[in-house]
Amino acid sequence: MYRKQVRRRRAVLTLLIVGSFLLLTLTYGQAPSGVQQGMGAAFAPLADVADRALKPARDLVGWFDETFEARGENSRLREELAAARKQAVAGQAALNENAQLRKLVELDRSPVLAYSTFEPLTARVITRSPNVWHSAITVDVGRDDGVRVDDPVVSGDGLVGRVASVQGGSAQVTLLTDHTSGVTAQVLPGGAEGVVRPDVGDPEDLVLDFIKSARNIGAGQAVVTSGWRASEVSSLYPAHLPIGEVTEAPIVDQEASQQVHLRPYADLANLDLVQILTGGAR
């Protein structure tokens, strides 16, 4: 009886492990299948409700976290923090949302988007991946709203990522900090070009790999999308979308290419509202 039980346990465990490997083999690196799309679509309405219900709790935790971080800063920030403490949590949340929407409107009016074929579509973030390896979010707009795979996604501060998969009423966005992400970019002023890649584990650091340039690059310079076009193919992103600011530019003479570290303008860890740039030329 005991042996039979042990054999059954081993069989179930083997079945589960083999099943996981099988699923991983079938789905890794592939476009989402019908089953995955169906699961995503089924979860989206539930996640939307849960997102709205849990927003006050998130804001409360966010408020405490910001308070802890502000403790280590200088006296000027302490004064600002003291003023911020007086605000009620609910009021703070409303102000934050308002500020994000204002920034999005400003980005719509900026020359980067005003003269392009892209149509900005505002979306609310409803879920986020729990581990640092998959830096992805789900938003509450989808195919029915005109969203397509590979549409660029921005926040009021700059580029956030691109749409990785899309269902009827929701879409998954791969952030700049996902290990699969890569964006062609240029440093301004100067125009040295390269590819922005993430540094897995550090959401506040991106790496710009580029062919060694004679131009000097220093901290504080802006990095924007390059938006290249060559015959029938072109970049997924429009040119001159802000990505981040150079924080470190080590000079290595022996290397054929140079690496520059930058901090993304967008706060990728705390996204509530984003804009999807729909309708771009492919």
């Binding site: 589960l16 991983l24 789905t27 699961m39 996640a47 935790v61 879920t127």
Partner: protein, 182 residues
């Protein structure tokens, strides 16, 4: 654990709610720049309450729900969480571990193991991007958060799954003194 259809429905509802709570709340808040991960802790508690098989099956289901809800490659999270659930259940069966503090400590240790497992799976599958040393901070802090999440998860699940638990710890009642001559 005696899994009747009613208990199975409860387990499924708990798993679904936990995944929703994770992707809509825990993953979207940061404490010291790290988001807590409560799902390994949940699977550990399932393993502690139900044994190795319950832990492994719960790990597979929770991982599948998580990957499915985020439209990510299926199987990666399941693979790691199966191991965590099975290990927690085996420890409980062999060492007779019991109590919220033990649960919290195991949640901490096995969450660290789970985060290392997630890293191992991703590195095995191939990561093009450079990997920062801050990943270590992420793993350690997630373990510490799991310690604080483990205790309430254990208490709540004990309450919710009480009818199914075989070895429910009982409160010891003092025996009434025998009164003679009445």
């Amino acid at each position: 654990m005696i899994v009747t259809p009613k208990i199975f429905a409860r387990l499924a509802a708990i798993g679904l709610l936990a995944v929703l709570l994770q992707i809509c709340f825990f993953s979207r808040v940061t404490v010291f720049d790290v988001s807590p991960d409560g799902l390994p802790a949940l699977v550990v508690v399932f393993g502690l309450l139900g044994g190795a098989m319950t832990g492994a099956v719960a790990g597979f289901a929770v991982g599948l729900l998580l990957d499915g809800s985020l439209v990510e490659s299926l199987g990666g999270s399941s693979l790691v969480l199966i191991g965590i659930g099975y290990l927690a259940g085996t420890l409980r069966e062999r060492l007779t571990l019991r109590g919220p503090l033990v649960a919290a400590l195991l949640c901490m240790g096995l969450t660290v193991a789970a985060e290392l497992g997630f890293a191992l799976v991703q590195l095995t599958l191939g990561v093009d991007a450079p990997v920062s040393l801050l990943l270590v901070r992420d793993v350690v802090l997630k373990g510490i958060f799991a310690f604080f999440l483990g205790w309430p998860i254990y208490v709540v699940l004990c309450r919710l799954l009480r009818p199914a638990l075989v070895e429910e710890p009982r409160l010891t009642r003092r025996r009434q003194p025998t009164v003679l001559g009445t």
